[in-house]
C-alpha cells in the first residue's frame, strides 16, 4: 500500500515536472501553425472568426493529404487581446511544438514579438494587424500582412474617389489610437497627389460615444466623402445619423475592420449607402467563379465574417509558402518560408480575393469598394478590384 502511494506520488511529480520540461519534439511530418487568437476580450468578435477560418482551411488541406504528405497541425491559444497573454501563448506554443507558421492577434504583439522572431529565425508570422509600419520587409523580415496595409486601404478608397469625383473634398474621422492615426498623414499626402482636397481631419477619443462637437466640425468641413478609420462600429452610426439629420450629403466610408456585413447591419438606418474597402470577397458572393467560397458555404451554411475570410486566406498563404519551400527542397525556416511567400505572383485564391494576388513587400495591395444595400441587407460591389502600384 505504501509502495503504491509512493509510485502514485512519483507519478504526480513526473506529471507536474512535465509542465516545466523542454519542448517536446514534434512528429517531423507535422507542419505547425501556432496562433495567439483573441477568443475572449474586446476583439473576440474577430478572433472567433479568424480561428474558424484557419481551422477550416487546415482541415481542407489535411483532408486532401496535407502538404507533400505532411499534415498541418493548428495550435491556437486564447489571448483575450492582451499583449502579455499573446507573448505567453507564443512562448507556450513554440515551447511545446516545432512551429514554423504563426498567427498574431494585434499590432502591439507583432511589434513586441518581432525581435524574438528574428532571433529564432524559424517562423514567419501574419496576423490581424494591417499596420503600415509592419509593411517593411527590412524591419519586419519574418512577417507579412494578409491584405493591404491601412495606408494602402486609404489609397484604394482615394483612387476610387478620384475616379468617381475628381477634385472632391475629403474628411478623415479617426480614433486617437495607434490604429486610428496609422494612415492619416500618408492619406492626406496621397489625397493631394490625386488632386483631392482634404477639408477636415477629426480625431475622436478612443471609445467615445458622444461625438456632437466632432459632428459640428465635420459639418464645417462639408466633405463630399468622409472616411472613418480606427473604429469597429461606434461612433460611426452616431456620426452618420447626426450628420444626415443636419442635412449633410457626404458619402461615408470605412476600412476593413468596420466593413463586416453583420457589423454594418448593426448600424441600422445609418448603414444605407455606407461604403468601404475590402480586400476579400464576402461570404455570400456568388456572382463570379469562386470555388473556395462554395466550399466554405458547404462547410458552414451560416454567414461567416470578414475575419473568417482573413483567417482562411492566412492559412492558405501559410501553407502555400510551406509547399513552395518543400517543393524547392529547402528546410522550413523563417528565411526560406518568407522567400517562398515572396514568389507568390498572380496566385489564385479560389475566389476569396476576386483577382489573382501578388505579395509585394510585406502586403497584398489590392481591394475593392463595396456599398451597403439596405434592401438586400448586404454589402455589394461598387467598383472593380483596385490594384496599387
Amino acid at each position: 500500500m505504501k509502495q503504491k502511494s509512493i509510485v502514485k506520488w512519483l507519478g504526480s511529480l513526473a506529471a507536474a515536472a512535465s509542465l516545466f520540461a523542454a519542448p517536446v519534439a514534434q512528429a517531423e511530418e507535422d507542419i505547425v501553425i501556432g496562433g495567439s487568437i483573441p477568443m475572449t476580450g474586446v476583439f473576440a468578435f474577430a478572433g472567433i472568426g479568424i480561428h474558424a477560418g484557419i481551422t477550416d482551411y487546415v482541415k481542407m488541406i489535411n483532408d486532401t493529404g496535407g502538404i507533400k504528405g505532411r499534415k498541418i497541425k493548428y495550435v491556437p491559444e486564447d489571448t483575450a487581446y492582451k499583449v502579455d497573454a499573446s507573448v505567453a501563448a507564443f512562448k507556450k506554443i513554440t515551447g511545446q511544438n516545432k512551429v514554423n507558421l504563426y498567427y498574431g492577434d494585434s499590432t502591439a504583439f507583432a511589434k513586441t514579438i518581432n525581435p524574438e522572431l528574428e532571433r529564432m529565425g524559424s517562423i514567419i508570422m501574419a496576423g490581424a494587424s494591417f499596420a503600415t509600419e509592419i509593411n517593411d520587409p527590412k524591419k519586419y523580415p519574418n512577417q507579412f500582412l494578409v491584405g493591404p496595409d491601412y495606408t494602402e486601404m486609404i489609397g484604394i478608397l482615394m483612387r476610387h474617389i478620384a475616379k468617381e469625383k475628381p477634385g472632391a473634398k475629403v474628411a478623415f474621422v479617426y480614433s486617437d489610437t495607434e490604429f486610428g492615426r496609422d494612415p492619416i498623414d500618408e492619406g492626406e499626402a496621397l489625397a493631394k497627389r490625386l488632386g483631392l482636397n482634404v477639408t477636415g481631419k477629426i480625431m475622436t477619443p478612443p471609445g467615445s460615444v458622444d461625438v456632437s462637437t466632432e459632428i459640428v466640425k465635420l459639418r464645417r468641413a462639408a466633405p463630399d466623402y468622409t472616411i472613418f478609420h480606427g473604429y469597429i462600429l461606434a461612433p460611426i452610426p452616431e456620426f452618420i445619423s447626426q450628420a444626415r439629420k443636419m442635412g449633410m450629403t457626404s458619402q461615408f466610408m470605412g476600412t476593413f475592420w468596420s466593413m463586416d456585413n453583420s457589423m454594418v447591419m448593426k448600424m441600422g438606418e445609418a448603414a444605407e449607402g455606407f461604403m468601404g474597402v475590402m480586400p476579400f470577397r464576402y461570404y455570400y458572393e456568388s456572382d463570379a467563379k469562386a470555388p473556395m467560397l462554395e466550399k466554405i458555404r458547404k462547410m458552414r451554411p451560416e454567414y461567416q465574417s470578414n475575419a473568417y475570410m482573413q483567417g482562411f486566406l492566412t492559412a492558405m498563404l501559410f501553407t502555400e509558402a510551406a509547399k513552395r519551400t518543400l517543393d524547392a527542397g529547402k528546410t522550413l525556416d523563417g528565411k526560406n518560408l518568407k522567400a517562398s511567400l515572396n514568389t507568390i505572383k498572380n496566385f489564385d485564391t479560389g475566389g476569396v480575393v476576386g483577382v489573382p494576388i501578388t505579395i509585394r513587400g510585406n502586403s497584398i495591395p489590392v481591394g475593392r469598394i463595396y456599398r451597403f444595400d439596405s434592401k438586400q441587407q448586404k454589402m455589394l460591389p461598387a467598383s472593380d478590384w483596385i490594384h496599387l502600384d
Binding site: H51, D78, D84, V87, K91, G95, E133
Partner: protein, 348 residues
C-alpha cells in the same frame, strides 16, 4: 509544534526573519530561484519574469494604498514613465541598464510627488479620480510628444546589456528582473520597520491622529507617493526591457486596476499580500488555460470554454473578497498557523 521564539539580543529582535525554520525556507526559495532557469522552459521563464515585474509594481502600490491608505489608479501611468525613460536612455545614450532603471524610477518618483499633491486635500475615491486624471495627462504626453516618445507608434527598446551580453531572452532577463524585484521586496519589507514606514501606517489608520502624534502629513504622504512611483517606474523599466516595445497603449487604465486588484486580493498592507496578489492575478488565467487545455475538447472546445474561463477568474476574485477579505496572505497565515500548532488546533 513551535512553542515560542526566545529573542536574546536586539539584533535578533530587529531581524526580518527570526527563526531557523524561516531561514531554512528562505534558503530553499533561494535555491529554487537559482535553479529555476535551468529546469524551466521559455514559457515558464517568461511567466516568472512577468510575475516578478508585477510583484515589484504591486508592492509599490501596496506601499501607497495598502500601507498609507491613499488609493491610486495611476500605477500603470507611472510604469509608463519608467518604461519611456528606460527606452529613451537605452536608445539615445546606451547607458547601463541599472542606471536606466534608476533613472526610470527617479523620473516616475518626481512626477509621483506632483501627482501626490492633491492627496493633502482629498482622500478615497476623490484621490483615485485625481490619479486617473494624472494618468490621462501622462497618456496624452506619451501619445503626442512625438519627438521624444515616438507618438502613438511608440519606441523600440534595444536589449539591456550586461558586460557585452545582450539580455534578449527570458533566460538572460531572468537574472536582471528577479534580483531587482527581490531587492525591491527586501527594501519594502524593511521600510515598515523604520520611522517612515510606521508613519505611513499611522496615516492610514487615522491621519488626524498621526498629525497630532507629530507626523507631518505633507512630507509623509508625498514620500509615500514618491516611493510608490519609484517602484512603478523601476517595474515599468523592467517591463520595457522585457517586451522591448513601449507605446502609449502599453499602459492602459485597466493595468492600474489590475494592480489594485492584485493588492486587494493578495491582502492590503502586507508585503506578502502584494506578492501573492501579483502571482494570483498573473498566473490564474494561465493556469485556467492549462486546465482547459488538458480537457479532451479540441480547439472548438477551447473556443466555447474561453469565456467560461474568464467568468471563473472573475468569480475567484469575488469569492476571495467575500470569503477572505484579508486576502490571500491571511489564508497563507492560517496554513502557517496550522503547521505551527500541529498536531493541535487553534481555537475559534
Amino acid at each position: 509544534m513551535r512553542i515560542g521564539t526566545a529573542k536574546q539580543s536586539y539584533a535578533h529582535d530587529e531581524s526580518l526573519f527570526d527563526t531557523r525554520t524561516q531561514w531554512g525556507w528562505l534558503a530553499t526559495l533561494g535555491i529554487t530561484l537559482l535553479a529555476f532557469p535551468f529546469v524551466a522552459n521559455d514559457y515558464w521563464l517568461y511567466l516568472a519574469c512577468l510575475v516578478a515585474i508585477n510583484i515589484a509594481s504591486a508592492t509599490g502600490l501596496n506601499i501607497l494604498t495598502g500601507y498609507t491608505g491613499l488609493v491610486s489608479l495611476g500605477q500603470a501611468a507611472f510604469m509608463g514613465l519608467g518604461a519611456y525613460t528606460v527606452a529613451i536612455f537605452e536608445q539615445r545614450f546606451g547607458t547601463p541598464a541599472v542606471l536606466n532603471l534608476l533613472a526610470g524610477g527617479g523620473v516616475a518618483m518626481l512626477v509621483g510627488v506632483v501627482v501626490g499633491i492633491p492627496s493633502l486635500r482629498v482622500k478615497g475615491l476623490y484621490l483615485a479620480i485625481s490619479t486617473i486624471a494624472a494618468s490621462f495627462i501622462l497618456h496624452f504626453v506619451f501619445a503626442n510628444w512625438t519627438s521624444l516618445t515616438g507618438g502613438t507608434g511608440g519606441m523600440t527598446v534595444p536589449p539591456a546589456n550586461f558586460f557585452g551580453i545582450p539580455l534578449d531572452t527570458s533566460f538572460r532577463l531572468y537574472w536582471l528582473v528577479v534580483p531587482v524585484a527581490l531587492t525591491m521586496l527586501v527594501c519594502a519589507a524593511n521600510l515598515f520597520r523604520t520611522r517612515i514606514g510606521r508613519a505611513f501606517i499611522a496615516i492610514r489608520d487615522r491621519d488626524i491622529s498621526a498629525e497630532v502624534l507629530g507626523i507631518p502629513l505633507l512630507r509623509y504622504k508625498l514620500t509615500s507617493f514618491a516611493l510608490s512611483s519609484f517602484y512603478a517606474g523601476v517595474a515599468g523599466g523592467l517591463w520595457a526591457y522585457f517586451f522591448r516595445v513601449v507605446t502609449p497603449e502599453s499602459f492602459p487604465l485597466m493595468m492600474s486596476i489590475f494592480f489594485l486588484a492584485a493588492v486587494i486580493v493578495g491582502g492590503m498592507g502586507t508585503i506578502l499580500g502584494g506578492i501573492l496578489g501579483a502571482i494570483f492575478m498573473t498566473m490564474v488565467p494561465e493556469v485556467l488555460k492549462l486546465i482547459v487545455g488538458w480537457l479532451p475538447l479540441g480547439s472548438e472546445g477551447a473556443v466555447i470554454l474561453s469565456p467560461v474561463r474568464t467568468i471563473v477568474f472573475g468569480l475567484l476574485i469575488v469569492g476571495f473578497l467575500i470569503f477572505e477579505p484579508l486576502g490571500l496572505q491571511e489564508l497563507w497565515r492560517r496554513v502557517r498557523r496550522f503547521f505551527h500548532l500541529w498536531p493541535f488546533r487553534a481555537q475559534g
